[in-house]
């Protein structure tokens, strides 16, 4: 039995990947989570210039539904500064996926070119952040834009390109097809869902940016559905990476059965002992594989179809 996980041309030691934006702002937390046992880590989404993001409150938990809402809003140091962190990660052999975002094709291209000299595992294109006034959300819902960006970037690097999809669309298949036609190497779904919370005492939205994105257990049935629908459409023609509300090893299996080749975990790792959580996930996955006589992760992928 092996946990080694294939995502297109890439192999990682197990199917767990740290999702973008969670413990991903500095090399040290990324390194720590990798040491904690995940197969790979995705950085916070990195843009052209440094950004403060949105005012606080910008992240809080909704524990009644085992979830979180955030409006961090792409706060990041800019790719030039972030090179320093990437350099350390690469030097320390941490399988790193750099998430990047831009307002348009040219921005994406500039960032990619500014980072592509590092042997990172992949670039993940965040076309889907719902927390910026412009940019992200528009691009990720426009299939023509998605196609153009992916095609352009694909021509500029040999490093695999992953496209992260937003669930805030009428037809994810259309967007996914654009990304696949553009030449992307994997699809990641899902990002957070547009959401907000209002405090009834003060009659105000709680988030500093008012609106945010919902992550955590609440969105798991939605994420599983996205992966299932995408697998129905593409089968094994493009690797799918599931994300959204994975809070246990059983949830990982559910995503794999739906069609994912690997998964990303965010909110569940925002706890005091993320290392324990990762170990616990892995032990559950192993137990499941043993009991169900699976020899490899890829055998589980798509099993519910």
């Amino acid at each position: 039995m092996s946990l080694i996980t294939k995502i297109g041309s890439i192999d990682i030691r197990n199917p767990l990947i740290l999702a973008s934006g969670v413990m991903g702002t500095s090399y040290s937390t990324l390194q720590r989570i990798y040491n904690g046992g995940v197969g790979a880590v995705v950085t916070k989404s990195i843009g052209l210039n440094s950004r403060k993001g949105n005012p606080n409150p910008s992240v809080f938990a909704l524990n009644e539904i085992r979830s979180a809402i955030n409006s961090v809003g792409l706060a990041n140091p800019g790719y030039q500064v972030f090179r320093e962190d990437v350099e350390i990660l690469v030097k320390n052999h941490v399988p790193t996926i750099v998430s990047i975002f831009g307002e348009n094709e040219n921005e994406f291209s500039e960032i990619l070119n500014g980072l592509k000299d590092f042997p990172v595992l992949a670039f993940e294109l965040n076309l889907s952040c719902p927390n910026t006034e412009k940019g992200g959300i528009q691009i990720g819902t426009d299939s023509e834009a998605v196609f153009q960006i992916v095609k352009r970037l694909k021509s500029e690097t040999e490093v695999p390109l992953w496209v992260k999809l937003t669930p805030n669309v009428s037809d994810v298949i259309e967007i996914a097809e654009a990304a696949v036609n553009g030449g992307c190497d994997a699809l990641v779904a899902i990002n957070t869902l547009k959401a907000m919370v209002i405090d009834i005492h003060t009659k105000q939205p709680i988030l500093g940016f008012k609106k945010g994105g919902l992550s955590g257990a609440a969105i798991k049935p939605i994420g599983v559905r996205y992966i299932y629908d995408l697998y129905e459409r593409f089968e094994d023609r493009i690797p799918l990476i599931g994300a959204g509300g994975i809070m246990s090893g059983e949830d990982v299996i559910e995503y794999l059965l739906a069609g994912a080749s690997a998964v990303q975990i965010g909110t569940a790792l925002g706890v005091a002992y993320p290392e324990n959580m990762i170990k616990f996930f892995i032990s559950k996955i192993k137990k499941y594989m043993r009991e169900n006589e699976f020899k490899s992760i890829s055998e589980i992928t798509g099993g519910a179809h």
């Binding site: 413990m23 090399y27 040290s28 916070k44 993001g53 005012p55 919370v197 955590g216 706890v271 959580m277």
Partner: protein
């Protein structure tokens, strides 16, 4: 295991039931929380939401009967807005977050602080004086000038009742001796033959100085410092803006209180912190 995740919630709206000027530009608040049975420990903090303005971390200065005590020092827009709040107003509280001070028995407890760093130390003092296994409890407080000394009356009163030894100083000599808390601290450590633990909360540069002093004394068996000079968003370990290099420890859950062994591994300590963008900034 599942229950371990996301133990916290959205801001709970607490009502301000008391507000007292503590010293210059610093107020003490009592906030009634709509919860039962949540316990706080000295060194822990909360995220304080001033509705419509900002949310930021503040240390717990006390917690009893669901009433939370905070001490807020004016800094910028967020703290200014909080200082403008009055009895009856609602503010949001998330917490209690972070690790607390660990207090061994039969030692000297040396609490060294300045500015709003005094808030967790007040809570710690309150807890320590209720115990009978201390060699001594000593407070070393320093400030620029007398009107900036937090909890002055309260600490003097405890000193007079012999519950603590209060060593106080100011930069300008307007109260206590003229100079830094380190003077009295070093004097004590040189003369003492019994084991001491240092609990320090204040500007990180000051803490770094004390850390280097403490390391020189064998009778200092541990130093616990509260790293409060870090930008925080979530408070529960998800965002990583508060993290330190190279360990990746997040101040909000792995700290804010770190011990000697941990502090030695934190290369940032007293050197740099991350801004809200994730960029580094020299301290």
């Amino acid at each position: 295991m599942k229950k371990q995740t996301l133990a916290n919630s959205k801001p709970l709206m607490g009502k301000i039931i008391d507000k007292q000027e503590e010293c210059d530009d610093t107020y003490n608040f009592l906030i009634d929380l709509p919860v039962k049975n949540k316990t706080a420990k000295p060194g822990q903090f909360v995220m304080l939401w001033v509705p419509g303005v900002d949310e930021f971390p503040v240390g717990v200065a006390g917690y009893e009967n669901d009433v939370l005590e905070l001490g807020i020092a004016k800094m910028g827009p967020g703290t200014t807005a909080m200082l403008a709040k009055n009895i009856g107003d609602f503010v949001g509280i998330r917490g209690f977050y972070g690790k607390s001070f660990q207090t061994p028995k039969n030692i000297n407890h040396l609490l060294i602080g300045g500015g709003f760093g005094m808030t967790p130390l007040k809570f710690l003092t309150k807890n320590l004086i209720e115990r009978d296994d201390n060699l001594s409890i000593q407070i070393f407080e320093g400030a620029r000038t007398k009107s900036k000394l937090m909890y002055l009356d309260w600490l003097q009163n405890l000193h007079e009742k012999d519950q603590i030894i209060f060593n106080v100083c100011t930069d300008d000599g307007s109260f206590g001796y003229k100079g830094f808390p380190t003077v009295a601290l070093e004097k004590f450590l040189e003369e003492s033959e019994t084991p001491s633990v240092l609990y320090v909360a204040g500007p990180e540069r000051m803490m770094k100085v004390i850390f280097d002093i403490g390391k020189k004394y064998e009778n200092v068996i541990d130093m616990q410092m509260s790293l409060a000079d870090r930008y925080m968003r979530c408070g529960f370990g998800i965002c990583s803006y508060c993290a330190v290099d190279p360990t990746g420890w997040r101040i909000c859950v792995d700290g804010p209180v770190f011990n000697t062994k941990q502090l030695e591994q934190i290369s940032d300590f007293g050197v740099y912190r991350r801004l809200d963008t994730g960029e580094k900034q020299r301290i």
